[in-house]
C-alpha cells in the first residue's frame, strides 16, 4: 500500500469537502414553501434563532416523513441466516468437454480468476459441481460446491457485484422444471468469503424463479393458471420479476398477452451473505423488451384475433395443401344427406354431417389440430352451430366440447374461426366487457376452451373488432 496515494487521497477529500461552505447550504424555507425536496431556487433567508429552527425542523421532518424512500435510511437489524460452507470434495472430478470456465474478478484485485466446473460422476449426470479457482491476489485455491441439476455443459451467467464492494460474484443457473414452454430455473449466487465460494441465501427464493408458477387453487380439469417469473442480469446487477396477472395454461400452451405487467425487484448481497430483494417496482415486459410502467399499467393484447375466416357451401372445395403438396382438400357433398369429404394425408374420407345447410370453414383450425386434417363446420340456417372435426387415420372425428363453456354460438356467446386457425368464443361479462376463450384439443376426441382475457367488443355482430378494455 502506497503512503503517497493515501496522502493524496486524504488531501483530495479534504479539498473536495472544503468546497462546501456554510453559505453554500440551502437555507431553511418557511413552512408554507416546504416541498419534499429542498429546492435550489428557494429565496428564503436563514432563520436566526434556535427556537425558530426547532419549529421549522419539526415540520420539515414531519413533512418528509411520509416519503417512502426515507424508510430505508435507518439501519435494519441483522437477520440471522445460515450459510452453508462448502465441503472440500470433488478434487478428482472432471470438467466435461462442453462446460465453459467462468472468468470474473472474485477477489476484486482487477484481475479475473478462471473458475472451472468439475462434475461429480453419476449415472444420470445429476451430481454436484465443484467450482474451483486460484485467486490472483493470493495464489491460493478457492472452491465451492453447487447443485445445478445437471453436470453437463456448465457455464456461468454474467457476473454481478451485488454488494457493491468492487469484486464480482459468480452466478450459475439451477435448472428446474418450473415451466412448460419457458426454460425454467433460478440463479445461484456464489460470493468469495474467507477463501471459499459460498452460496448466498436469498431472503425470498421464490421471487428469483424463472418459469411458470402455478397459482394455488387455480387448477381445473383442463388448465391451471400461472404467473410468469423471470430473472435477468443487467450492468452487473441481478433483477427478477413476476407477472401481476395469471394466465391460463393447458394443452402445452399458455395464453398470455404480448406484453404484461410485472412486479420487479433488484437484488443486493449483504455482509452476512444474504441475497435481499429491494422494493417492488412496476415494469411492462414482452418477449423482446422491458420498460417502466406508465400511470395505469395494463397488459397489452396487441396480438388480437385477426379476421374471421370465411365459409363455403355445398359443392365448393377448400384446398388446404401447401406448395409442396402437403395438406388436404375438403368439400361438402350432398346426395341425400350432406357429407364432409376430405382427401389428403393418405386417406379419402366421407363423413356424414347432421347439420342443416352445412358451411365449411376455409381455414384449418391448426390451433386445435394440425397433425392431419381438421375442419370447422357451421350452418347457413343456424349460426349457433359450430362443429370441429379432426382426422384420426381414415375417419373424421366430431370433437366433443368439454369444460366450462359450450362451443355453440348462442345465449349471447359468440364463437368463430379466425383466419389464422384459432377457434375463439366470447361470452358477455360485466360492464359490457367480454370474456375471450380459445379452444384447444385436450384428448383425441375432446376440445376445451381456455380463458384468455377480458376484452371489449365494439360491434357484437363483428366479434373480431376487439380492443383492450
Amino acid at each position: 500500500m502506497s503512503t503517497d496515494i493515501e496522502a493524496r487521497l486524504r488531501d483530495a477529500l479534504a479539498a473536495r469537502a472544503d468546497l462546501v461552505r456554510p453559505e453554500d447550504l440551502e437555507p431553511l424555507a418557511p413552512v408554507v414553501e416546504l416541498r419534499p425536496r429542498l429546492s435550489r431556487q428557494s429565496p428564503w433567508v436563514l432563520l436566526a434563532t434556535a427556537a425558530v429552527v426547532l419549529l421549522v425542523l419539526g415540520i420539515v421532518f414531519q413533512g418528509v416523513g411520509g416519503r417512502e424512500r426515507s424508510d430505508r435510511l435507518a439501519p435494519e437489524p441483522d437477520e440471522k441466516i445460515e450459510l452453508q460452507l462448502p465441503t472440500d470434495v470433488g478434487r478428482d472430478w472432471k470438467a466435461d468437454d462442453i462446460s465453459t470456465p467462468a472468468r470474473l474478478d472474485l477477489d476484486g484485485d482487477g484481475t479475473k480468476e478462471k473458475v472451472v466446473f468439475l462434475g461429480e460422476p453419476t449415472k444420470n449426470f445429476d451430481g454436484r459441481t465443484r467450482l474451483q479457482t486460484t485467486l490472483s491476489s493470493t495464489g491460493q485455491e478457492a472452491f465451492g460446491i453447487a447443485e445445478l441439476g445437471t453436470t453437463i455443459g456448465t457455464s456461468a451467467l454474467p457476473p454481478i457485484d451485488a454488494d457493491g464492494d468492487g469484486d464480482q460474484e459468480l452466478v450459475l443457473l439451477r435448472d428446474e422444471a418450473y415451466s412448460g414452454p419457458v426454460t425454467g430455473g433460478f440463479p445461484i449466487v456464489f460470493d468469495l468469503r474467507d477463501g471459499l465460494l459460498v452460496e448466498a441465501v436469498p431472503d425470498e427464493p421464490g421471487l428469483l424463479i424463472r418459469g411458470e408458477l402455478v397459482e394455488e387453487g387455480s387448477a381445473t380439469e383442463y388448465y391451471d393458471k400461472v404467473r410468469v417469473g423471470d430473472f435477468w442480469i443487467e450492468d452487473g446487477t441481478l433483477h427478477s420479476s413476476r407477472s401481476v396477472a395469471s394466465y391460463a395454461r393447458g394443452a402445452e400452451m399458455r395464453f398470455s398477452p404480448k406484453a404484461y405487467v410485472v412486479d420487479a425487484w433488484t437484488w443486493t448481497l449483504d455482509d452476512n451473505g444474504a441475497l435481499r430483494h429491494g422494493e417492488t417496482e412496476c415494469l411492462v415486459q414482452s418477449y423482446d423488451s422491458t420498460r417502466e410502467c406508465g400511470l395505469d399499467p395494463t397488459d397489452t393484447f396487441t396480438y388480437l384475433p385477426p379476421e374471421r375466416a370465411s365459409y363455403v357451401g355445398l359443392g365448393e372445395t377448400v384446398d388446404l395443401t401447401d406448395e409442396a403438396g402437403y395438406g388436404f382438400t375438403a368439400r361438402i357433398e350432398a346426395d341425400a344427406d350432406p357429407s364432409l369429404v376430405v382427401n389428403g394425408f393418405g386417406a379419402s374420407i366421407r363423413q356424414p354431417l347432421e347439420v342443416p345447410q352445412p358451411m365449411l370453414g376455409t381455414v384449418q383450425p391448426t390451433s386445435i389440430f394440425f397433425d392431419g386434417a381438421s375442419l370447422v363446420i357451421t350452418s347457413a340456417t343456424d349460426p349457433s352451430v359450430v362443429q370441429v372435426f379432426t382426422q384420426n387415420d381414415d375417419r373424421m372425428v366430431l370433437m366433443d366440447p368439454v369444460g366450462e363453456i359450450d362451443l355453440a354460438a348462442d345465449d349471447g356467446q359468440q364463437t368463430w374461426l379466425t383466419d389464422n386457425g384459432a377457434v375463439l368464443s366470447a361470452l358477455p361479462a360485466d360492464d359490457g366487457a367480454w370474456e375471450l376463450w380459445q379452444w384447444v384439443m385436450v384428448s383425441r376426441t375432446e376440445i376445451a376452451a381456455l380463458p384468455w382475457a377480458t376484452v371489449c367488443i365494439d360491434d357484437v355482430d363483428d366479434p373480431t373488432a376487439i380492443t383492450a378494455c
Binding site: 479534504a14 425536496r37 429542498l38 435550489r40 420539515v60 468492487g166
Partner: protein, 173 residues
C-alpha cells in the same frame, strides 16, 4: 421536547460536516443536502433510535452513508436518469474549481465500487478507525481492512488509467 432540542443542536452542529461527507459519496451538493435532510428526518421519526446521545453523530453518519448508497443505486438503475436539480442556477460552491491534482483523485474515487468508496471516505476523510467503519457499514473489521487495501490499489490504477488516457470527461467542480 428535550429530544427535539437535541436534534436541533445536532442539526446546527453537524449539518455541514454531514453534507461534506455526503458530497464525497454522491458528488453533487443538492443530492448531498437531500441525503442529510433525509437522515435527520429519519431520526425524528425514530426518536428512540439513539439511546446514548454521544452516539448520535455515528447514527447520523450511518444514515448518510446508507442514504448516499441508495441515491447512487437509484441513479444507476434509473434508465433515463437526469439529475433532479439540473435546472438550478450555479451556486458559489458550483463555481469553485478543484485543483487538478485533487480532481484526478476525486474522479478516480468515483470509479470505485460504492463500498470501496465508502471505506476510503470514512477512513481518510472522517478519520474513523477500522472498528468504527466496521460498525458504520455493518461489516467485519477484516472486510474493512481488505476493502480499503483493494480500494487503494484500484484507486491508484484508476488514476494511472485516467492520466494515461489524457481525458477525463467533464471538469470537477
Amino acid at each position: 421536547m428535550a429530544e427535539a432540542v437535541d436534534i436541533t443542536e445536532l442539526y446546527a452542529a453537524h449539518r455541514l460536516s454531514l453534507v461534506r461527507l455526503a458530497i464525497l459519496l454522491v458528488d453533487d451538493l443538492a443530492s448531498a443536502e437531500d441525503v442529510v435532510q433525509d437522515a435527520f428526518a429519519a431520526l425524528t421519526r425514530r426518536p428512540g433510535a439513539i439511546k446514548d446521545p454521544s452516539k448520535a453523530l455515528a447514527y447520523l453518519r450511518v444514515s448518510v452513508v446508507n442514504a448516499s448508497r441508495s441515491a447512487l443505486r437509484r441513479r444507476r438503475t434509473a434508465r433515463a436518469y437526469s439529475p433532479p436539480h439540473d435546472t438550478a442556477p450555479p451556486t458559489p460552491e458550483d463555481t469553485a474549481v478543484l485543483a487538478e491534482e485533487h480532481r484526478q483523485v476525486i474522479v478516480a474515487l468515483h470509479t470505485l465500487a460504492p463500498r470501496q468508496r465508502e471505506v476510503l471516505v470514512l477512513r481518510y476523510w472522517s478519520n474513523l478507525s477500522e472498528a468504527e467503519i466496521a460498525a458504520a457499514l455493518q461489516i467485519s473489521q477484516g472486510t474493512v481492512k481488505s476493502t480499503a487495501s483493494r480500494a487503494l490499489v484500484a484507486l491508484e490504477k484508476a488514476m494511472t488509467t485516467h492520466m494515461s488516457s489524457g481525458t477525463d470527461g467533464k471538469e470537477q467542480r
